[in-house]
């Protein structure tokens, strides 16, 4: 990589190193910025940057009620960036990105849910969750505080999470309820909660590699 250059005056060489260093810093910086959530991985040691979601063993499902009829749905595509150290829980972090266009409920609903009244997936392709504080409650239980953003509307959220480890994989499970109208999901004529209930139960199971033993 080092080009063969004619000897230069010392001051010039220093200046060059300075410029190269700046370039390197800029590249690294933009690289981190490009990887988005991963920028937060700096908060814990670099070895944990290899923590990755195992999509085949993960799921995000929900239950909505239509005139009392429970309807199950799920998101087929989502991503997660985890920087979790059981010994430094306070400095750990998780971020999720959920592809709203990948919603799957039933043939009628799948066509409707991506429309502007519901998820408006064309304008807001992704829902996101960004943790702000993680608290250990003992026995593998944690409390994750953060912000959930759907359709451009952000809401504070407190999620109880249970962690379990097996064969090098760490699984986080939990459930919480959200109110769809807080996010204007089901707007206009669909905002009638006697027809589609306001409360939606969300369940998740997220499996990760590379989390140190609890």
């Amino acid at each position: 990589m080092t080009p063969v250059l004619p000897p230069e005056p010392h001051s010039n060489r220093l200046k060059r190193r300075g410029v190269a260093g700046l370039c390197l810093a800029l590249c690294l910086g933009s690289g981190l910025a490009l990887t988005g959530w991963r920028a937060n991985a700096q908060t814990v040691s670099p070895s944990q940057a290899t923590q990755a979601l195992v999509p085949a063993q993960s799921e995000i499902t929900f239950v909505a009620r239509q005139l009392g009829v429970p309807l199950d749905g799920r998101f087929k595509r989502f991503e997660a960036q985890l920087a979790f150290d059981p010994k430094q829980v306070a400095r750990s972090h998780i971020a999720l990105g959920i592809d709203l266009g990948s919603v799957s409920m039933n043939p009628d609903a799948d066509v409707e849910l991506v429309k502007p009244e519901w998820f408006n997936a064309g304008k807001f392709p992704k829902a996101s969750f960004q943790s702000s504080a993680i608290k250990a409650l003992g026995a593998g239980r944690y409390e994750v505080r953060g912000q959930l953003t759907i359709k451009g509307k952000a809401q504070a959220l407190l999620v109880p999470v249970q962690l379990s480890q097996s064969k090098g994989l760490t699984t986080a499970t939990g459930a919480f309820a959200l109110k769809r109208l807080d996010f204007k999901v089901g707007d206009g004529e669909w905002s009638d909660v006697s027809l589609v209930g306001n409360e939606v139960q969300v369940r998740f199971k997220l499996t990760f590699t590379g989390v140190p033993p609890l």
Binding site: Q66, G68, V69, P70, P107, D108, D192, L195
Partner: protein, 185 residues
């Protein structure tokens, strides 16, 4: 003439049987029309509401029909007045019993097929939004596709038989003038 009227009035259906007949007659015609209308609507809150009302009404009709059948077993309907029965050709007597029996089969079959279709489509029925009913078929798009036309054709058949039933009753009233219709009033 007066004597005939008296005998037919005396052989009326029980009050309970008449109530079942008229309530279910109105309910079945209404639920059929709602189903037919809502089926063609685009996905919307009104379609969802109408479809759910259709399902709730359908299950209510099923329950009432079972109760009606049990009542009928315990309280045999009046036999046809002898004079009227003797005036009927053999095919009419077969048709009279056949139409009634087939209608009873369809009172049960149409709602059961609708229920099965709803379950197969992935929408379990919650009766009046309060009582969750069990699914007796699995959720399956292909099964739903198979059941749907059966529900429709069974309902059309029931409507055709009901029309025949009404026409026959009107024929007895206005052509034969035998007062048979009074059994149900």
């Amino acid at each position: 003439m007066l004597a005939t009227t008296t005998t037919t009035v005396a052989a009326r259906y029980t009050g309970t049987a008449r109530a079942f007949h008229w309530v279910l007659a109105v309910a079945i015609v209404c639920v059929f029309c709602v189903g037919l209308y809502a089926e063609g609507l685009p996905f919307s809150p009104s379609k969802l509401k109408l479809m759910n009302w259709h399902k709730w009404a359908g299950v209510s009709i099923l329950v009432l029909s079972v109760a009606r059948l049990l009542w009928r077993w315990a309280h045999r309907p009046p036999a046809l007045p002898q004079r009227i029965e003797q005036a009927m050709p053999a095919w009419q007597r077969v048709a009279y019993h056949g139409v009634h029996q087939l209608m009873y089969v369809l009172f049960l079959a149409v709602p059961l097929l609708g229920w099965a279709y709803s379950s197969a489509r992935g929408y379990p029925i919650v009766w009046f939004g309060a009582l969750p009913l069990p699914d007796f078929v699995p959720v399956s798009a292909s099964l739903a596709k198979t059941i749907k036309p059966w529900h429709g054709w069974a309902a059309y058949t029931l409507m055709a038989l009901a029309t025949l039933h009404v026409l026959a009753a009107l024929k007895h009233q206005f052509i034969d003038r035998d007062g048979l219709i009074r059994r149900m009033f």
